[in-house]
Symmetry: C2
Subunit: 488 residues, 2 copies
C-alpha cells in the first residue's frame, strides 16, 4: 500500500507516551485513516477490517449458540419512538444525529440515526411477542450506531460512528432476565479474555452511570498496565422500564397478561479492537491473537546476488507447505530490504516470520521468529509444518498467560482520600467504602472526579459483601465497596 | 415465533397474482415485517437474515479471492464532496437523505447518508494512491445505503435502506479497467447463477439509463418466467470521470503523473435475496439453494398415543446422525399437527423433511421428502446419512437445471411496434433495432415506455453485431440491437 515506504517504526515507547504510541501505531500499521473530512469519522483500513470481521464472526457464532437469532433493523428511528421512554430520550438526546430532509422534501418528524436500537426494536417486539411460548425471545443485530460525542474522539476507542452487536432479549420473569445478564458476562469473558486476550473485570455501575432507562448496568472494564481502565461491553437489566411504555406484553400460562422483562447487551466490536491494539501492542507495533491476524505467517527471503533463485524456490516450498492451513504471505518484493520487511510485519503484528537465506538453503533450514515472545528458532524444513502447527496452537495461549494478569495485583485498599490520591498517582485501582451506588452518593462521586481525576467504576460483580465501615469521601456509613480508577 | 399459528399457507397462485403471492410469502414465511413505523423501511427477520449473511459470506470470499480487500467507510458524506462531480450529484440529489443537526447543534454543511460511496472513497483514494506500484487498487465494503425512492417500495426488491457490497477499483489503464468490468460480470454469473440459481443476462445500458457519472453501465437483468425482468448487480466503467475531480492520480513507471481509471461494482445482497425468493418460490412458499437454507433438514415425528416415545427416540437418532454435517431441526412441539408442520416448513423452504411414524420405527425407515422436486422416498435408517449426503449434493444442481433457462426461449425478434406490443403482452422479451444507445435515442425510448409499458434494457454484452437495419420506433438507421422488457 501507498504508505509503506514511509513506515519507519514507532518512535516513542508505549510506556512513556501511550497516546502518541497509539496514534503512531494506528497510522503506521495502517489500521485507520483519520484524514476523512468529517470530524469524529474515520476510515477503517483493510488490516483492521479483516480482524474486525473475524471478531464479529466469533461473537455472532457464540450468540447464536446461546439461542440468539440475527435480524436487521432500519437505522432510522422516528423521533416519536424516542419519546416513549423518558429517561432514555433524556440520556441520548444530546448525542443524536437527526435526518430532517430528503431530496427536496423537509420531514414533518425528525428521524434519528440510531444511537442504539431499543426504541426501534421494542415497538416491533410488542407485535412479535404474544404468549409465554414466544419466550425467551432473543435477537441480535450486527450494525453501526452513531453518537454525537462531545469528548475527543480516538480511532476505534471513541468515534461518532462505531460498529457493534446489540442483543435484545425478553423473558417471562425477572429471574430469567438476571440469568441472561450473567450469561452476557460469561460470553464477554469467553470472547474478550479467551479469544482476544484482553483482561477484564465486571462492575455493577453506580446509578448515576447506568444506561439511560436501565434498572442496572453491568460493564466490563479492561485493565491496562498503566492502571487506567477502558470501558468495554456492558449488559443492562431493563426490567419492565421499556416493556411498559412500548407495550411488550405476553399472555402467561395462567391466561393473564404480563409485561416482559428485558435485557440488552452491546459489545462494540470496533472499540474492542482498539482495546486489543492498546493492550497487546508493544514498542515494535501491534500484537494480535493468532486467529485474528490477517496474515499469520510471513516468509521473507534473504536475497543476495547469485543465490536469489535458490532462496526464492525454498521460500515457495515453505509457502506451499503452509498455505493450506494458514494465511501465509511470501514477501518477495525487491524494493525493500529484508530488515525493512522485518520491521514492517512486526509493526503489523504478524505472529510468525520465516526467514530463509542462502546458508539456510544449504542446510535445509528455515528460521522462525515469534512476534510476541521474540523467540527465534532454526527449524529443519522437514519439520517446519509440525513446528508451526505447535507454535500456532501455543501463540494465543502465551499471549493470554502474559496479558491476563491478576486483577488483585492492581488493587490498593484505601481508607482516606489522601491514600486514594496517592494510589491513583501510583497507577493503582482504589478499593474503598462508599455511601452507596445510589443517587444519594452523586456528590461524593463528584469529589472523586475533581480531587482524584478518577471515576467510581462501581461494585465488583463477584464481590460478596461490603468490606468497609465508612465512605471514603463523606465518612458516613458505607453501604458499598467500590473501585475507583482513571479511565480512557 | 409469534406468527406461526396464523400461517395458513399461501392463498393465491404465483402465476395468477405475483404481487399478492410475493407479499404473502414475505409475511407468512416470516422474511420481513412491514409494520415498522417509517415508510419504505422494513425489519428483516431472522429467517431471511440467516440466508443473507451466508450470501454475504460467499460474495466476500469471492471478491477477496479476486484481490479485493475489505474496508469500512463512514456512512455520512459532507455535501461538498457530492458537488465535486456534477452529473453524479445531479443524478443522486433527489434521492439523498440529509443529516442537518445533532444534539442541539445545527450543522453549517449538510451531511448525506451515503446513497453510494464514490464521493467519500475517491477523496481518500487520492491520498492512498501515489504510484503505479499501488495499482491495481481494489477495495470493497459491505454496508447499507439509503435512497429516498419515490417509486413504491417492496421488501427486499426496493427499499429506502438496502444492504449491498460496493467494490471500487483503480487501474493504470482503461484496458485493465475494462477487464475488471468483465471480471465483475463473471463474478455475478458465478454467484447469482451457480450459487443462488437466479438466471441472469448482462446488458450494456443505454446512456440515458447509466449510473450517474459513469462512462458505461453494465447491469444484470434477472429473468422471470413472466417475462418481466429485475435489475440486479451492475458494474460501471467510470473511466477518469471521477479521478479528475477527485484527483486520483499516480506516478507511472515513466515518472509522469496520470489519472487512474476507475470501476465500481454494486451487488445489492438484500435485493438479490428478494429476486431469489421471487424466482425460485412456488405455490407452497419459498425455495432456497441448499447452502443458504437456515434449516436444511427438518425432522417431523408422526405422533400417536402409545408410540410417542419410540418415535421421538428414532427422530433423535436421525438428528444425531445428521447434525454434525447439516443444520437440522427436530420439530417435536405438540401444539401443531404433523400436517401443519409440513406446510410450515414447506412455506419456509427447508430443503428436506424427514418424517418418522410408528410404522417407520418398526421397519427402521425414515421418509425423506424433497421440498423442490417433491420426491418422497422411504430410506433405511442405516442408509439415511449416505442418502442425505447425495440428495444434498444434488439439490441445488436440480434447482439450477430447472430454473436457469435459456434466455433465447423468451426472446421474440420484432420489426414493428405493433409486433413488439403483442410480444410484450405475451410475456416475451423483444429484440429489435434501435437508433442507438446514445442520448439521441431518448425520444424513441420514451415511445417504448408509453406505448409498450416496457423499457429498453440495452445491448446484450455478448451480442457481436447489430442484426437490424432500422429503428423499431422512428425507422431511421439502427445502430444497435437492443432488448426491451417489462420490469419489476
Amino acid at each position: 500500500m501507498a504508505e509503506e515506504k514511509d513506515i519507519k517504526g514507532i518512535t516513542v515507547k508505549k510506556a512513556d507516551d501511550f497516546s502518541e504510541w497509539y496514534s503512531q501505531v494506528v497510522q503506521k500499521a495502517e489500521l485507520a485513516d483519520l484524514r476523512y473530512n468529517l470530524k469524529g469519522f474515520v476510515c477503517y483500513m483493510p488490516w483492521a477490517v479483516i480482524s474486525i470481521k473475524k471478531m464479529y464472526e466469533k461473537y455472532e457464532k457464540l450468540l447464536e449458540k446461546n439461542g440468539h437469532l440475527p435480524l436487521i433493523m432500519p437505522s432510522l428511528i422516528p423521533e416519536s419512538n424516542f419519546h416513549m421512554e423518558s429517561s432514555h430520550v433524556e440520556g441520548f438526546a444530546p448525542q443524536v444525529f437527526w435526518v430532517t430532509e430528503a431530496g427536496n422534501e423537509k420531514f414533518e418528524e425528525r428521524l434519528a440515526l440510531r444511537p442504539t436500537s431499543e426504541t426501534a426494536l421494542y415497538k416491533m417486539y410488542s407485535l412479535w411477542i404474544r404468549s409465554y411460548k414466544d419466550l425467551p425471545f432473543k435477537r441480535y443485530q450486527s450494525c453501526q450506531v452513531w453518537r454525537y460525542e462531545g469528548k475527543a474522539t480516538r480511532p476505534f476507542f471513541r468515534a461518532r460512528e462505531f460498529h457493534w452487536i446489540e442483543a435484545h432479549n425478553v423473558f417471562a420473569t425477572e429471574e430469567e432476565a438476571r440469568k441472561q445478564v450473567l450469561q452476557d458476562m460469561e460470553m464477554t469473558y469467553q470472547m474478550l479474555e479467551q479469544e482476544f486476550s484482553i483482561p477484564i473485570i465486571f462492575f455493577e455501575r453506580p446509578q448515576w452511570d447506568k444506561f439511560a432507562g436501565a434498572v442496572s448496568t453491568y460493564a466490563a472494564d479492561a485493565l491496562t498496565e498503566s492502571g487506567k481502565v477502558i470501558q468495554l461491553p456492558s449488559t443492562h437489566l431493563l426490567g419492565t422500564n421499556f416493556s411498559k411504555p412500548f407495550n411488550v406484553k405476553f399472555i402467561d400460562k395462567d391466561a393473564s397478561e404480563k409485561y416482559g422483562f428485558i435485557t440488552c447487551y452491546g459489545p462494540a466490536i470496533s472499540r474492542i479492537y482498539g482495546a486489543m491494539v492498546a493492550i497487546l501492542g508493544d514498542d515494535k507495533g501491534i500484537v494480535l491473537p493468532f486467529d485474528l491476524a490477517p496474515v499469520q505467517i510471513v516468509i521473507v527471503p534473504i536475497l543476495f546476488k547469485g543465490s536469489k533463485e535458490k532462496v526464492l524456490e525454498k521460500c515457495e516450498e515453505a509457502e506451499a507447505m503452509l498455505k493450506g492451513m494458514y494465511s501465509v504471505q511470501l514477501d518477495a518484493r525487491d524494493d525493500m530490504s529484508a530488515g525493512e520487511k522485518f520491521s514492517k510485519w512486526e509493526l503489523k503484528g504478524v505472529p510468525f516470520r520465516i526467514e530463509i537465506g542462502p546458508k539456510d538453503v544449504e542446510t535445509n533450514v528455515a528460521v522462525v521468529v515469534n512476534r510476541f515472545t521474540k523467540e527465534k528458532k532454526a527449524v529443519d524444513m522437514k519439520q517446519l509444518g509440525r513446528y508451526i502447527d505447535e507454535a500456532a496452537r501455543n501463540y494465543t495461549r502465551h499471549l493470554k498467560e502474559k496479558k491476563l494478569f491478576d486483577f488483585n495485583s492492581l488493587i490498593q485498599k484505601c481508607e482516606t482520600l489522601e491514600e486514594a490520591k496517592k494510589a491513583i498517582e501510583n497507577k493503582k485501582i482504589v478499593c474503598c467504602g462508599f455511601c452507596s451506588l445510589g443517587m444519594d452518593a452523586v456528590k461524593c462521586a463528584e469529589v472523586i472526579e475533581t480531587d482524584l481525576g478518577a471515576f467510581v467504576r462501581g461494585r465488583k460483580v463477584t464481590e460478596e459483601k461490603n468490606h468497609f465501615s465508612s465512605c471514603i469521601v463523606c465518612g458516613k456509613k458505607a453501604k458499598d465497596t467500590v473501585y475507583i480508577a482513571r479511565s480512557y
